[in-house]
Amino acid sequence: MFYIQQIQCISPQQTFPQASLDTLLDPVNNKLNVIEPSYDGVPRNALRRMSKSVRIGVGAALPIIKNTGTHIDGIIIGTANGGMEDSIVFLKQVIEFEEGVITPGHFVQSTANATAAQLSLVSANKNYNITHVHRGHAFELALIDAAMQLRENADSNYLVGGVDEISVYNYKLDELDNWYKPAPVTAGNFYTQNTPGSVAGEAAVMLLATNDSANAIAAVIDIVTLHTTDIADVQLALQNILAKHGDTIDIFLSGENGDNRFDTFYTAVENELNNDVTVARFKHICGEYPTATSFALWFACELLSTSHIPAHAVKKQGSSSFKNVLIYNVHKGVQHSFILVRES
């Protein structure tokens, strides 16, 4: 479908600008917060006005914008909670000042398209610009958008990103809604608690998508999204993918998040795959968040380009081949997705 020419990731671990994942940081209070870089080249006053998701999105995209040199044909962002923090900060002002005189700063920053808008400003880009916010599919729908754009405009390149932050408020709402574990979790016992809930995460992943295979990091072969609570639908979707692209998966990158309510989906997918498939996991690295599949895609690129899986990520060692990686994720038990990534 398309090639990834560049990819950058600002995450809770050492991933930016170079990755070193052999040792991991544990969650603090069941949150995996990003390690923010110094943002060299971003004016300080502009930085101060940005929310964390906008900061990390811009931070991850800047090296790509710099390296690309020529113009970028579009900016396509997936974010579920972009703007949430500013929304509630603004709302707090509205209610606490009883709708009195308030400044519009947080309101303007609260729009979900703030990251895509900032990227257009920092790169003076007047082309295609869109923000997909469909919660657990926001990043996948951005990838599908890029794939369509590259079919429509063959000689183009698109900056595609997935970004979400842990804000005080979205953490609180999701915590109330039982999406996070109350008991402390470490990287080591992330998957073995056998309790409901996961650990909150956040990250920004930005990539450059083109039709150019020369020197590409990886190819995104297919992206499938579905909404269901029925395992049979997920199994059927997987069978269709394998029938379409060949049953040649080397690595299954599983979105397991330690929430025992959803293990059955991941087990069902694992069981559909050949016995010699290596099963790896990533949410102990980045935590759980709606666009975590963008971190999975970055991790898949890392695996394909280094031919190495950190030991902590291996659930089951199988084939030692590094050609085809299948990412599967389910968000909150309803939004499922598959992303098939191939070596370039």
Binding site: K92, I95, E99, F107, K126, I130, T131, H132
Partner: protein
């Protein structure tokens, strides 16, 4: 097509108000904001309870934005005579847009986020995706579902995304549109930006004082020309373009670069010349900044600016629903061969000398352009054409 807005709960009611010049902007009743009695707004004339009753919704987590979306969606799928099996087909996509989503429940969100109110039914209802995730479940949709938020151009981009899914073979049918409801959140946001008009808005008028916020929803059912053969066809999605102004987070550049590029790109995508456009449903919010930038952009594109109008003078600015509502109105222009007036207009902006259409007139409307511009510089322009 389906639409619900301050000027009616159906396409027919909206059409009747547009040709009769019946404005939907006025006093807001029973709304939890101090501005409800001070400023004009354009509310849908059905209470949230009444909407729930009409739609048969009992789930306490469902918000007004979702109910408005469902009202328009229901009309659209009935109009297109989509059977339940077709709705649930893997090839039927739903592409929605919203900017407010469940944040219409501003006080509840504040309470839940600050007071840890565990019993709240709304914990998963505040984001924009909640609207279309609920509809997925309610209507048992199985195709691709998306939620787009590019501020005030959101539902124009939903139409574009749906059309492209069909063209790329990723959907057979796409139900596209958007919904937003009035919220204390947006009311105070636009008020803080000093762009809410104290009077009923007067788009493209020299003395315009800002916009009025509105609410509503609209959906359109799209499919390939060959699949639509033999069915009732209103119009063709002829062209579209999404661009960025790349100027300022909340205002347009003086010359309207983003709007200019969007209109130019839509013409190129439709393989039309500027002179082919018969009518423009302008973004026309009534703010100082938008109407001037949009006028200048129109003058850069068109040697002679075609008849244009802002139906926001009827509906207020419905934010994430505006692109879809105005797409329905543009199609009404085409199928009825008519213009829709800009209400309350008095004086031409001296800088531009452009006067919007102020009456309902018969017109040849083969190609109609619809503009939507949003915060963050997100500009989209759509072109609809008659199929005869």
């Amino acid at each position: 097509m389906g639409v619900i807005s301050a000027i009616g709960n159906t396409v027919a009611e909206n059409h009747s108000a547009l040709i009769n010049g019946s404005c939907g902007i006025g006093q807001l009743q029973d709304f939890p904001s101090k501005y409800a009695g001070e400023l004009p707004f354009a509310a849908v004339k059905l209470s949230t309870e009444k909407l729930k009753q009409i739609l048969g919704v009992t789930d306490p987590s469902v918000t007004r934005t979702t109910l408005l979306a469902m009202a328009a969606f229901t009309e659209a799928i009935q109009d297109a005579a989509l059977a339940a099996a077709t709705l649930s087909s893997l090839g039927t996509a739903l592409i929605g847009a919203s900017t407010v989503g469940g944040m219409c429940l501003a006080d509840e969100l504040y309470r839940d986020a600050n007071e840890s109110y565990k019993e709240s039914p709304y914990l998963s209802s505040y984001d924009c995706a909640s609207v279309f995730l609920y509809m997925q479940k309610h209507y048992q949709l199985r195709g691709l579902i998306n939620t787009i938020n590019t501020a005030c151009s959101s539902s124009a981009n939903a139409i574009m995304y749906g059309a492209r899914l069909i063209q790329n073979g990723l959907a057979i049918k796409a139900i596209v549109g958007g919904a937003d409801s009035l919220s204390k959140f947006t009311i105070n946001g636009f008020h803080a930006l000093h762009i809410l008009s104290p009077e009923i808005c007067t788009p493209f008028d020299e003395n315009r004082q800002g916009l009025n916020l509105g609410e509503g929803a609209a959906f359109l059912v799209l499919e390939k020309a060959e699949d639509a053969a033999g069915k009732k066809i209103y119009a063709e999605v002829k062209g579209y373009c999404n661009t960025t102004d790349a100027f300022h987070p909340s205002s347009l550049s003086d010359n309207g670069d983003g709007p200019y590029l969007a209109m130019q790109g839509a013409l190129a995508s439709a393989k039309l010349h500027a002179a082919d456009i018969d009518f423009i449903n302008a973004h026309g919010t009534g703010t100082e900044n938008n109407d001037l930038a949009e006028s200048r952009a129109m003058q850069r594109i068109f040697d002679h600016v075609p008849p244009f109008s802002s139906t926001k003078s009827f509906t207020g600015h419905t934010l994430g629903a505006a692109g879809a509502i105005e797409a329905v109105y543009s199609i009404l222009n085409i199928i009825n061969g008519e213009t829709h007036p800009t209400l309350h207009f008095n004086n031409t902006i001296p800088d531009t000398g452009l006067t919007p259409v102020t009456t309902h007139q018969s017109i040849k409307a083969k190609h109609v352009m619809s503009n939507s511009f949003g915060f963050g510089g997100n500009c989209s322009s759509l072109i609809f054409s008659s199929v005869s």
